[in-house]
Each structure stands twice: as structure tokens, then as C-alpha cells.
Amino acid sequence: MSDTEILDFICLRIQEAAMAKGTGSVAIDGETLILGGHLPVDSLDLAAIVVELESCTGCDPFSKGFVDFRTVGELVRLYSSPK
């Protein structure tokens, strides 16, 4: 998956979580904080996104333990193919 595809996938899943919770669509870019900002997602939504990203990309950035990330862009980079 390209970085754009990964970003699109994350945005789609966040919008779906927003719909499920009855909130409207939300604006998202690379600088958007995933938790603790304006996004209607909780840690379990994020865990689901991580599980599905691993399944799509075959990459597990947490295989050696937790990796710190806060924004949507930082999450995209965790799953980016090595350039």
C-alpha cells in the first residue's frame, strides 16, 4: 500500500467510527491527533485500525513492543514501506 492508500484507509475507518457513534463526518489530515483531539474515536477504534492495517500491509510495527505515535501522519509512517 502507498502512503496515500494507508492515509485513505485510516480516514475511511475513522469516518465509519464517527457514523457508528452518530456524529457527522470529521476533517482529518496528517497533523490530526488520533486520540485526545476532535476525532470521535477511542483506543479500541484505534486498536481495530492497527489490526486491519497489519492485515492489509503485512507489517507489524509493534512486534517489538509499543511505538509512540500521536497523529494520523505518524500512524501512516509506521506502516510505510521502507523507501
Partner: protein, 435 residues
Amino acid sequence: MNLLRQLENGRDAQAVTQDDHPFTYQDLLQNVQDLKLELTPYRRPMVVSSEALTVLSALIACQELDIPLWIAHALGNRRDFDMVAESQKIDVRIGDGGQLEAIGGGAGTNSSGAFAIHIMTSGTTGTPKIARHALDALLGRISTNSLSQGSWLLTYPPSTFAGIQVLLTAISSGSPIVAYRTQSTIKLAEAICRYSITHVSATPTFWRAALMALHPSRAGNSLRQITIGGEIVDQSLLDTLRRAFPSARIAHIFASTEAGALFSVKDGYAGFPAAWLSTKIDGVELRIQDGILQVRSPRTMQAYVSGHPSPYTADGWLSAGDLVEVRGDRVYFSGRSDAIVNVGGAKVHPEEVERFILGIEGIADVVVVGVKNALSGAVLKADVVPMPGFEPEALRQKIARVCHSALPAHKIPRIIHMVPHVTTSFAGKKSGPLE
């Protein structure tokens, strides 16, 4: 009960239809006599076959020879078989078609014992537990109930406790059995029509899939007895079956490899009456300890012979590992005590979430599992089978909305996949709690 006598009474009537090949009681009797002769030098046989005909012949031949029989699941690999054969001192393997293969030291090297039936649990991890049962105990519920003749469909592998119960029930009542080596729901559902099957015992997972494959307008009119077991039975399945097959008796049965056949519930409601906790039901005493159902029954297994710790309490009760809760005048099953998923530190029983989702219109079946991850321990994933005519994507969004509005955060499946069918284990049950 002498099983051979049952065959002699049947004569030329149909006994078993195995993979669409009919066998009369006379054919079965001949099979048993041949096998009995070949088994004479052996003391500890193990049957490893997915053919009902072979398992049944082995059972009856061993009763005649008064030697114990081990029944293994045919889909296990050879290494697992060798391990069990060595630990149980098996001296002969009975394979498909009743073919014998001498094992280890061969015939006559090991001590014998009286006729007993050794059944293995169907769990997928670790060495199988092997439960020793007496035939009388296995027949206990069968002989105390008035048996109606009909034609049975075997939906379980013949090596499982449930499969053996169906075989014994059919033989005891002089009813023909239709059996296949495959457990394909489509094939089995077609057999209900082709053979005008009257009696079917199966898991809820089977029935949900069969309801889609088997439209009552074209079949199922022959069904007189529907039995459900092996997994938790939810009210929506009971209601759907009642609507689809209004003239059939519907019962859900509580049984396990270790506990044996305990009791069945025939009032059309999920769970069982709480009054049964203070009165015996079908000779079985019930109590709840720490939220887990315990039983004391004349039909439980005698012991594990596989070296596993005894599941009996010091005062003689058996824990079947089922979590129950009393609501009003009813006791409901809420899940297996060993099937708990840790979601962000909170414990969840996936079966509870499955039952909630099954209550949403348009859902044919669902399996909920925990998916491990580094952020939350596990997160719930639901694989959902939509009913025909329901648009999968719209249904997926509806499930998400309904779960978010009604369930606490840790019980909401955050991953929902729409699938054509759910994955089941060898014994026709849904997969374990984690993936």
C-alpha cells in the same frame, strides 16, 4: 442393551445410508460379524474413521467381544494418533471400511478390560482428553424416553460424543441413519429433502446455515424432531426454527463429552427453568457455583483415561465449564468459563455479543472473536453472515450503529466483516475466543 439384537430385529430394513450407499440391518450385521472375527486376537482397538457405518460396526463388535473401544477423530494427523495409541496401549487401528492395522507390539500383548467406550474431546489445542463411558450411561437418556421411529440425519462426525449419541439413538429405535463423510451444511441440508429426514440433531451454527440452504417451501416438511446442542441456543434461532418448521418438535439439549447427555428443554425458550436447580431433571442435579453450572448425573463419564486432572469436585459434582446467570425464573447460558477475551482490561464473553448481534434483523449467523493487538490486548471482531436479500454494506453499518447505541465500549465489535459463512471446528462449533 444388546446392540447386536437391535440389528437382528431389523433384518432387511434400511439401517445406514453412508455417502448415498444404502446398507440394510442384515448388511450391518454381516459387517459386525466380520469385524468381530478379525478383532478376536486384539484387546485394545481404536476406530479412526469418518464413516458412521465403520464406527457403528466397531461399537457393536466390541460390545460382543466385551473389550474396550477407543474412538478417535478421523481428521487428526497421524502423529497425534500415534501419540494417543502409544499412551493408551492401542493394539489395532480400525480404519475406513473396517480395515485393520496392527499397532505396536500387535495382538494380545496388552491387558484387556470389559466393554467401555472412550470418546475424545473435540478441542483444538493440546492433547485430547479421553473420557471413558459405559454404554448404559450413554444410552441412559435414550432408553428412558419414548422413542419414535423416523429417519435420522447425522450432522456430527461419528467420532464425537454428539455423533455417537445420534448413532445409538437411531439403532435403539430401529430408525435408519443417513450419514456422510463430509460435514458440508449444503450437502446435509439437501439430504433432508432427498431422504425425507424426520429427525435432525445439530449445532446452532448448522441450523442457521441450514435455514438459508433449506427453504421450508421446498423441503423440511418431513422434519418432525429438531434437536439443537453443542453451543448456546439463542431465542432468535428457536423462534426462526419454529416459524420455518411449525409442525416439528424443537428441543435444545445440554450435553458434553464429559457430562454425558444431561437434559433437554422443550418449551421453546432459551435457557432452562430455574426451578430445575431445586428439583432433579431427567435424574440430574444442578447447582451454580461461582457463576458456573455444576451437575451430578448418573450419565456422566467414569473418568478421564488421558491423565488430565479430574473435573469432579471433592463432593462429586462435575463442572461443565458453562457460565450461567439466573434472570427471573430462567437460567441462561452466557458463555464458556474458558472463553473470555480481555479487551482493554475488561473481560468479555464473545458469545454474549454474538447473541446480541443475532437479535438484529437480517443476520443469519455471526461469530465474534478477540483479535490480539499491542494497543488493547484484544479487540472484538465480528464475522457476520447476512440473510439473503439484505445488502451487506448497509447491514454492516447498521450493526455498528446498533452496537454503539446499546453495548458498553468493550463489548462493541470494532471490526465487522461480512462473510458468506462462518468457520466451524471439526465438531461443527464456532472457533475459539481468540485469533
